[in-house]
C-alpha cells in the first residue's frame, strides 16, 4: 500500500465514524442557526409562510422598543408593527431568576460539600439523599407537586400556620412571591454542583490544611486561602454551566404558570415567552429573533465570566 492510499484510508475510516455526528451538526445545528438568523429579520408566521416579508430589524425593535417609550412603529418595509409589551418583563423575570438562583445554589452546594468532605461515615448515602431533588426536580411531577405545596391551602402554609403565622399568601398565585417559589425550586436542586464540588475538594491535599494550621491559620483563613483558590476552576465551571442552564429553564415555569406566565406575568420566563410567541401565536420569525438575543446574552455573560476569571481563578497550583 502506498503512503497516499494509507493516508486516504486512515482519513476515510475516521470520517466514517464521524459521519452521524457530522450530519447532525450540519443538518440540525449549523443550517438551523443560519436559517433562524434569516427568519429573525422576517415576519414569518407559521400558519402563512407564503406571506413572509423581510422586515429588517423590526423584530428587534419589537423587543426593545418599549424601552424608548414606543408602542407602535413602522418597520423599514413600511409594515406597521406593535411593540411587545411583555418582552422586557420576561427579560427582567429571567435575569432575576438567574442572578438570584445560581449564586444561592452554588453557595449551598459548596457549603454542603465542605460539610460532607470530612471523613464521615455514610457520606455516600448522604450524598445520594441530597442528590434526589436534583434527580427529580426537572420533571413535570415535581412541578405539579410544587404547585400543591405552595398554594394558599398547601403544605407550606399548613406548617407556617402551625408556627403561628397568619394572613399567609398563596405563594404561587401572588405575583410578589411566585417567582421566588421557582427560585427556591431551583436552589433545592443543588445536587450536581455539590457532587462536583465534593470531587474537587477531595483533590485538595490534606497537607495544605495541616501546614496552614501549624502556621496558626484558623478555619476561616484556611477556607479563603486554600479551599477557595484551589477550588476556583471548579467554581468557574459550575457557575458557567448553571448560568447557561438557568437561562433556558422552561418546564417548571410552564407547569406552575399553567402554560402561561403566571399571575401578572410574574413567572414569564424568557423561553416561556418565546414558546408562546412562536407556538401559540405562530410568530416564528419573532421567536427566532428572541432566540438570537438570548444566545447573545448568554454568550456575553459567559465571556465576562471567563475574562473575569483571570482575577479570581487560579490554575497550576498543587500537581
Amino acid at each position: 500500500m502506498s503512503n497516499a492510499t494509507r493516508f486516504f484510508r486512515r482519513n476515510a475510516v475516521a470520517y466514517m465514524f464521524l459521519t452521524p455526528w457530522l450530519i447532525g451538526f450540519f443538518v440540525l445545528t449549523l443550517y438551523p442557526m443560519f436559517y433562524s438568523l434569516r427568519l429573525s429579520f422576517t415576519d414569518y408566521d407559521f400558519t402563512k409562510p407564503d406571506a413572509t416579508q423581510w422586515i429588517g430589524l423590526g423584530n428587534y425593535q419589537k423587543m426593545f422598543g418599549s424601552l424608548f417609550g414606543q408602542s407602535e412603529f413602522v418597520a423599514s418595509t413600511g409594515k406597521a408593527m406593535r411593540v411587545d409589551r411583555y418582552y422586557i418583563k420576561s427579560l427582567s423575570v429571567t435575569f432575576t431568576y438567574v442572578f438570584v438562583s445560581v449564586p444561592l445554589k452554588l453557595i449551598f452546594a459548596l457549603a454542603i460539600a465542605i460539610l460532607m468532605n470530612q471523613r464521615l461515615r455514610g457520606v455516600s448515602f448522604y450524598r445520594a439523599v441530597y442528590y434526589v431533588p436534583t434527580l427529580l426536580g426537572g420533571s413535570v411531577a415535581i412541578a405539579v407537586l410544587w404547585r400543591k405545596l405552595f398554594e394558599k391551602e398547601g403544605l407550606v402554609n399548613e406548617f407556617l400556620g402551625a408556627l403561628g403565622f397568619t394572613n399567609l399568601p398563596g405563594w404561587i398565585t401572588d405575583p410578589r412571591y411566585s417567582l421566588w417559589t421557582l427560585i427556591l425550586l431551583s436552589v433545592w436542586q443543588f445536587g450536581s454542583s455539590m457532587i462536583i464540588f465534593l470531587a474537587g475538594l477531595k483533590q485538595i491535599p490534606q497537607e495544605y490544611y495541616e501546614a496552614a494550621s501549624v502556621d496558626g491559620a484558623g478555619k476561616v483563613r484556611q477556607f479563603f486561602a486554600i479551599t477557595i483558590p484551589l477550588l476556583s476552576p471548579v467554581i468557574l465551571f459550575n457557575l458557567v454551566m448553571q448560568m447557561i442552564g438557568a437561562f433556558q429553564s422552561f418546564t417548571q415555569a410552564y407547569i406552575i404558570g399553567g402554560g402561561r406566565g403566571g399571575v401578572l406575568n410574574s413567572t414569564l420566563f424568557y423561553t416561556l415567552h418565546m414558546y408562546i410567541q412562536g407556538w401559540t401565536y405562530h410568530q416564528m420569525g419573532y421567536a427566532s429573533a428572541m432566540a438570537w438575543v438570548l444566545l447573545i446574552i448568554i454568550g456575553l455573560l459567559t465571556a465576562v465570566i471567563f475574562l473575569s476569571s483571570k482575577w479570581w481563578v487560579s490554575y497550576g497550583t498543587g500537581e
Binding site: 445545528t29 427568519l39 457532587i195
Partner: protein, 286 residues
Amino acid sequence: MGPGNNKTSTVVRHTLTHIFIIALGLVMIYPIAWMIVSSFKPNNLIFSDPGLIPKAVTFENYITGWKGYAGTSFGRFFANSLVMCAVAIVGNLISCSMAAYAFARLRFVGRSFWFAVMMTTLMLPGHITLVPRYILFNTFDWVGSYRPILVPKFLATDAFFVFLLVQFMRSLPKELEEAAIIDGCGKVGVFLRIILPLAFPALVTTALFTFLWTWDDFFNHLLYLTRPETFTVSRALRTFVGDAGAVSNWGGALAMSTLSIIPAFVLFFSLQRYFVQGITTTGLKG
C-alpha cells in the same frame, strides 16, 4: 487540628455534622416523601393533612389517575415513554460512541477543528435551533410522531455524551489496541472488540442520563407530540394542570407523579456510582 484533645473534639464535631446533615436532608426530602404518602390519602384529606402518616389509606387515586386523559390510560403513556427512552438510548450509544472513538483514538485531517466545533455545540443553547428544526420537521411531516425527538439521537446531537465518552476513551491504555492491530484487526474491529467493551462504564453513564433526560424532557414532548395516544408520561402529567393552572384531580395527579418518578429512583439507587462518574468526569476535566 492539634494533637491531645483532638479525638473527643472530632467525635463531637462529627456527631453535630451528622445531626445537621440528617436534619437538613429530612427537610429536603420531605416534599417528595409527602407526595408519595399523600398519593395514598383520600382526596379530601390531601388538603388538610400535612403529616407523613396517613389517617386513611386508599388506592382510589391510582385508579382514577390511571384512567389518564382523553380515553388513553397511563399504561399507554408509560409504554410510550419506555419505548421512546429505549430507542433514544440505542441512538445515543451508537452515534456518540462512534464520534467519540474518532475524536479520542483516530488521527485524521481536521480533528482538532471538528473537536473544537463539537465543544462549542456543547455550550450552545438549544433554543437557537428550535424554530428552524420545527419548520424542518414539519416539512418532513414528522410533527406528531417520535421522529423529531428520536432521529437527532442517532446523529449524536447530545454533544455532552460525545464529550463524556471522549474523556473516557482517551484514558484507555494504548497497548491493547496496538496488539489488536498487529493481530490484523482493523479500526472497526478495534472499536467493536476493544474500545467498546473497555468503555462499558462510560456507556452505562450515557445510557443512564439519556434515559433520565428523555423521560423527564417536557419541552420537546410539548412541541412535537400532538395526539393523546402518543403522549409520554411527562406530557400526560401536564394534562392534570389546567390552562389557568388549576388542578382538577389532585389525588390522581400526585399518584401518577409518584409512579412517574419510580424509574429514576430505581436506576439512581442501583447504579449510583455511574451517576457520580458522569457528573464528575465531565465536570472536573472540563
